[in-house]
Symmetry: C2
């Protein structure tokens, strides 16, 4: 019996003893959380103050006070991620980034809405055009820091809500205003209709609106012969009246265009709810902060998402970024953007793509040094933390690989030991998907659906 | 150069080729998602139908229609988990379980409220008594399937909300009714006060109420000399008037007792929103389903959570389960409940516990065969998916271990390679923690807070 390196690893922790462990924690590097004295909340003598701690918030106030529950963390997060540094061209790179997850999320909410339109109206949604107002990208005419997603195809009908169909409380309100500016509204609440869209909760576009200084929609409804545009400002608290213009017949095709100027001060935690003692009031500032949040890391992450959208929309819709069409032919095209490890190149290849079913594609590549474990999409939503379907596919793949090795007479290996050496790509469609949160990073639908 | 087992693993994926991959996916085992024909939503000719797809929900309807966003998945999930099969005694076992994550979550919301009371009123919260109405546990007098959490100590003040303090819309409503029966209410919205509680979003108890057939609170307010009790039924849609009784002076100590009969039909997906085409209406059935959801797996998971609560409440409050005091003296006591691997026992030990700061404790043990990677708590909330603090502590520990090995002249190993062999325990307190969702499985607060 040969004591292999792996066996030695297994024996490691057994030798741990109390006392020695402290010395293993290096004092260099990032310090552990500082040890402040525990401040227990003192039992309040003042009963009135006690009663006053109980508060009732409006849903809008709640979203602003507890963004983590809706769009992920505000402030900056530091981690490694796949990014596209080349803007409209170039490959994926795995590198450390500093960014705001909530900012990425609100952009994603608008982008996923456009991708959903590919399912809703595949004939009409011929193209999706994304514009990012950032210095390093081709100019777009957008102000610095602004984001725009334009898609062709049927949008929200330009019509007023009626008491009979939509309820007395909202009768007379234009449907686009309701769907983009009121929480708990949407067209995705009818499960069982076999729809494979990413919108589920009725929060998406509203969240982008709430975390923006300015949010603007323009939609052309050819059937109604009208173009509708409307502006919200200051975290959706100011609703300007919509403007309706007749649609000239020569330009009579449907489209929807959303333009937002994110509330960078609030998102980056430099003001607003973060610094203001959590009162959750609406920001008083009006746009002076500008595009401070669109640094190179954030732009590189946004560009990655647009490339991914191009892969998911292929071949139905063409996706462009700042006027440049992105040529990403589906999951295969996306995989080509990832670096192959040197060793894989030397071995003459190293990736494979299979269609598991009409709705599921699986790609496998050798993991480039230290890179992320998987890239997966469910109905165009990037499920960064995987979920039920990822687990299901992964388990079968690893078991299959291990069995194949065993069949070749190799030493038996646990399937899990193979996992770190693979980079998996999954693109799937699920009817009425269930996610673990509004951030939708993990799918929780049963694997057999 | 010796081609070790590990090196062979690294070379594995390079030999993957298209075509061979299909054969690696075994047809045996659980089948992959079936390949139904993709049904694109047809472009609707009927414009009225199109307009009617847009809907506005009340927050309560939204919670019932999209439980995943609030309490996790309904229906059954199959996975491996640590459980306590012995009820009020015995150790942890790692085994496959079939359970409903949402059911576990609503119990947890009520339990975490009681744990938060340990921080709010450490002098008064001397004990927390949990009762589970299940056949395999000591009898409690509760009906089959019912759950109860009773805690000593200051509760919600029995007083009416006032227009001046709480707003005109809720003036005159009893505070307990507001806090337990209205969404977006609570006492945890004041950040910056240095409070280290698990309640954050103002949803917890309300979610337990919404997913229950019957939800009952009884709270004694000694200062006001009154005992308040109230019942909600049918997913919080029926609110019975509260009953107030004078509190006899001989029994004048504060307590809060919440008793719920979960809506098993809805939670297990056997009716309600799951089967009803997603209309999200309120269940018409009234309790006939009984305790069908409290099978052995679910009870074993609930018992684990009560043991964990006992560890987190130690030494301030004593936690009992169905009348039996649980003797779990903090994180150390909890660690003792986990099995040591045979090899670790043979090596004469295998676990260590250090206090990193007044607020943070770290335990390390040899991973028992295939068991979960970590057991971590933030303010008593079980963060099953770790988060920023877990990452931070883990990184330092692994780097320290790897450096120590290198210092002993061993072959250099990447720190990540050590991880699978450790089972980590972390118990920490964070002021105003941020989580990635209402399920609070992952902490997102910056690691330096």
């Amino acid at each position: 019996f040969r004591a292999s390196v792996c066996m030695r690893w297994r024996q490691l922790p057994w030798s741990l003893r109390r006392g020695r462990l402290e010395r293993l924690l290096p004092s260099a590097g990032r310090p552990l959380p500082p040890p402040p004295a525990v401040r227990w909340a003192s039992a309040r003598a003042d009963r009135a103050a006690d009663e006053a701690t109980y508060r009732l918030l409006s849903p809008l106030e709640h979203v602003l006070l507890r963004p983590g529950m809706y769009v992920g963390a505000t402030g900056r997060t530091n981690e490694h991620a796949w990014v596209v540094d080349g803007g409209t061209s170039g490959g994926m790179a795995w590198r450390p980034v500093s960014y705001c997850p909530a900012l990425l999320k609100i952009f994603d909410e608008v982008l996923v809405n456009a991708l959903d339109n590919v399912s809703r109206d595949p004939a009409g949604t011929t193209h999706i055009d994304v514009s990012i107002g950032a210095a390093g990208l081709p100019p777009t005419g957008l102000p610095e820091g602004a984001l725009r997603v334009h898609n062709a195809g049927r949008g929200i009908p330009v019509a007023k809500a009626t008491a009979a169909v939509h309820g007395a409380g909202v009768a007379g309100t234009w449907l686009p205003q309701l769907v983009l500016g009121e929480l708990f509204t949407g067209s995705n609440f009818d499960d069982g209709a076999g729809r494979i869209v990413g919108g589920r909760h009725g929060f998406g576009a509203k969240l982008a609106n709430i975390f923006s200084e300015r949010f603007e929609v323009e939609t052309a409804d050819a059937a109604a012969g009208v173009r509708y545009s409307q502006v919200w400002r200051r975290n959706m608290s100011v609703v300007e009246p919509p403007e309706l213009l007749p649609l000239p017949h020569s330009a009579a095709s449907d489209y929807t265009r959303v333009t937002l100027l994110p509330d960078y001060a609030r998102l980056l935690g430099e003001g607003g709810a973060q610094g203001g003692g959590g009162q959750g009031g609406l920001a008083e500032g009006g746009g002076a902060e500008g595009g401070g949040g669109l640094d190179a890391d954030t732009v590189a992450l946004l560009c990655r998402r647009v490339h991914e959208a191009a892969a998911c929309a292929h071949p139905t819709a063409c996706v462009s970024l700042n006027g440049v069409a992105l040529e990403v032919d589906g999951l295969r095209g996306l995989m080509r953007r990832y670096p192959a490890s040197d060793a894989a190149l030397a071995a003459g290849g190293g990736s494979a793509l299979v269609r598991l079913s009409p709705r599921w594609q699986l790609g496998v590549a050798a993991a480039p040094g230290g890179g992320g474990a998987h890239v997966s999409f469910v109905n165009g939503v990037a499920t960064a933390r995987g979920g039920t379907h990822m687990d299901h596919i992964e388990r079968q793949l690893l078991r299959g690989l291990a069995a194949r090795l065993a069949a070749k007479g190799e030493e038996p290996l646990p399937p899990a030991a193979l996992r770190p050496h693979l980079l998996l790509f999954v693109d799937g469609r699920v009817e009425d998907p269930e996610f673990d949160s509004q951030a939708k990073e993990r799918l929780t639908s049963p694997a057999d659906r």
